[in-house]
Symmetry: C2
Subunit: 347 residues, 2 copies
């Protein structure tokens, strides 16, 4: 669709999107996506048709494909004054790439739909593209296509395709009573970083960076699948909400142990400064894209996974709303809304 009707197809990085038009921008983005990112280990044999046609065509060696889509909206998932476009691109890609990892797969391709005002700077778009490409390159995936539309509000919709290499997908529905629950990756850092930025600060840098550019443990998803994970989910809604998804889909309860969680120094320091308990961020913070998985009790956990609890019988008396307990206490899984944590804090 011709949402931008610019008259010149000459793509330059100065000026606005309306100046070079939709096709000019597509041409510039196409070049950007075809460049190699850092640590390039791309398997270009996978891409049969790339950017610039009606559809891309990607190989699926084992005869199936994992697919996940995530949309990030300005003012909700990112702010252009809090993150440079390169970091926003990495973050947008990470959200979808982590979903593929959470099925036990490796992402192979991304398609990206970008909605933005006509006065958006071309240079901003190109840096966003660099971020999308570089995050995809971390797992060997390519940006193979997309769409551009005019809108009042900036938003980025990234769809990832992934390869399961012949393994069964690790869904949310396979946890069984007696399994252990383990997590790999940071919890609460991004949420604490957001709290820091919301108060007008830029440090501690580790927290702000975690918000601007999460580092999902992509390889751990494949390792968990190989180690026989019975269920897995990426932590994007907050740990309580996401283990709640596993509990509900698997029709089990999940008992977490508060003492199992590390409370890293920067979280403790900032929480103390704001008069909060760092467990708020650890248990209900999203955006970090850690992986939470269940394994048979006897399984060797893959490197990086830490035990945080176990799968128990579903407590019918509590009902579907609260299948998760922390130290024996039922908690609601609602992230960010505060209900989860206040319930958790109740005597």
């Amino acid at each position: 669709m011709s949402e931008f009707s610019g008259k010149s197809a000459d793509a330059t990085s100065s000026g606005s999107v309306s100046g070079i038009g939709e096709f000019g921008l597509i041409s510039a983005l196409r070049k950007r996506f075809q460049e190699s990112g850092p640590d390039s280990q791309l398997d270009d044999e996978l891409v049969i048709v790339g950017v610039g046609d009606d559809a891309a065509v990607v190989r699926t060696p084992d005869g199936c494909v994992a697919v996940s889509t995530d949309v990030l909206v300005t003012g909700v998932h990112f702010r252009t004054d809090w993150s440079p476009p390169y970091e926003i691109g990495r973050r947008a890609a990470a959200a979808s790439l982590a979903d593929i990892a959470a099925m036990g797969g490796r992402a192979t391709a991304l398609v990206v739909a970008l909605s933005m005002p006509a006065d958006q700077a071309v240079s901003w778009c190109l840096r966003l593209a660099d971020g999308l490409r570089d995050e995809a390159t971390l797992v060997g995936a390519r940006v193979v296509g997309g769409d551009i539309a005019r809108s009042r509000e900036l938003s980025i919709c990234v769809t990832a395709l992934g390869d399961l290499a012949g393994r069964a997908p690790v869904t949310r529905a396979g946890a069984r009573e007696g399994d252990v629950v383990a997590v790999c990756g940071r919890l609460g850092f991004a949420e604490a970083g957001l709290a820091v930025l919301s108060r007008g600060f830029r440090s501690p840098r580790a927290l702000v960076a975690a918000y601007q550019h999460p580092e999902p443990p992509y390889a751990a998803g494949i390792a968990a699948a190989r180690a026989g994970a019975t269920a897995m989910c990426d932590v994007s809604d907050g740990l309580l909400a996401d283990v709640g998804h596993i509990a509900r889909e698997s029709k089990v309860g999940i008992a977490l142990r508060g003492a199992s969680f590390e409370r890293p120094e920067p979280l403790q320091a900032v929480a103390a400064a704001y008069g909060l308990d760092p467990m708020l961020w650890i248990l209900t913070g999203g955006h970090d894209h850690a992986l939470v998985a269940t394994f048979s009790a006897g399984a060797d956990l893959p490197a990086g996974f830490e035990l945080i609890g176990e799968v128990v019988a579903r407590d019918e008396s509590i009902g579907e709303d609260s299948p998760v307990t922390v130290d024996g206490q039922a908690v609601s899984g609602t992230a960010f809304g505060g209900a989860g944590f206040s319930h958790f804090n109740a005597p």
Copy 2:
């Protein structure tokens, strides 16, 4: 991500999205997508993991997958006062499904990212879902996943996956000098319908309906691939722009014949009423998702395709901006901007 923090997971069709929350809405949509639409010929063997996990998993019998994404933004691609949600859903799905057809494939699955204000009515979302599902069902595809985010502006991003059944994809790059150019499907109807609605009218109904709910000739894409189409594109930017894409990617020129185009009665009548030439809509109107393809000169055209011109050598003197001529006259391919048509009208 928890963009809506509603406290009840009970999904009802009354009230707003913020009332039932993200997970309540996902639960309601999931049920909707699992119902069968009309003319159901679903091959559920294709879907290994459907709505409700980190990613969906879909079979790809021939070891590759076609993927295309399209985003529709309120006020740009649709207006909620001009189209009911069911029609918006069908239209959003059609945009992506037509892209798969334009590669010569059959769509198998859709994922849908929906961004919307917190006060959006749940009933509106469910009717949108019905439309998405029913349009997908036309080609035997399922909605297998998606994302929901809060935003100020309503937008719908649909990504389609498709199966090429072992055939090579029909790209935009394969047209050769001497090929014929043919089109299947309506041209200009949706654009004329938009012109009618823009002036505050609701008829002729055929044009308004064409805008609200295009009917891409899905089966014709597969038929064209089987008949050996050398290049193909769906007409979403306007015919001149879209044959321009084929010309540029194939490094050829395309010569169209004005007399080859039908000027259907409703287009003529409305154009006359507005003091316009119906060829404006036919040559530059988007949204109808007709298919334009090139075939070897001797090929039997599949049913529904009409000859409109031929592939010629690229005229280097004209340059890349205008590889398309109508009755020997160079035209710019810019859709909607007016430049294309005013140039075409020049003496």
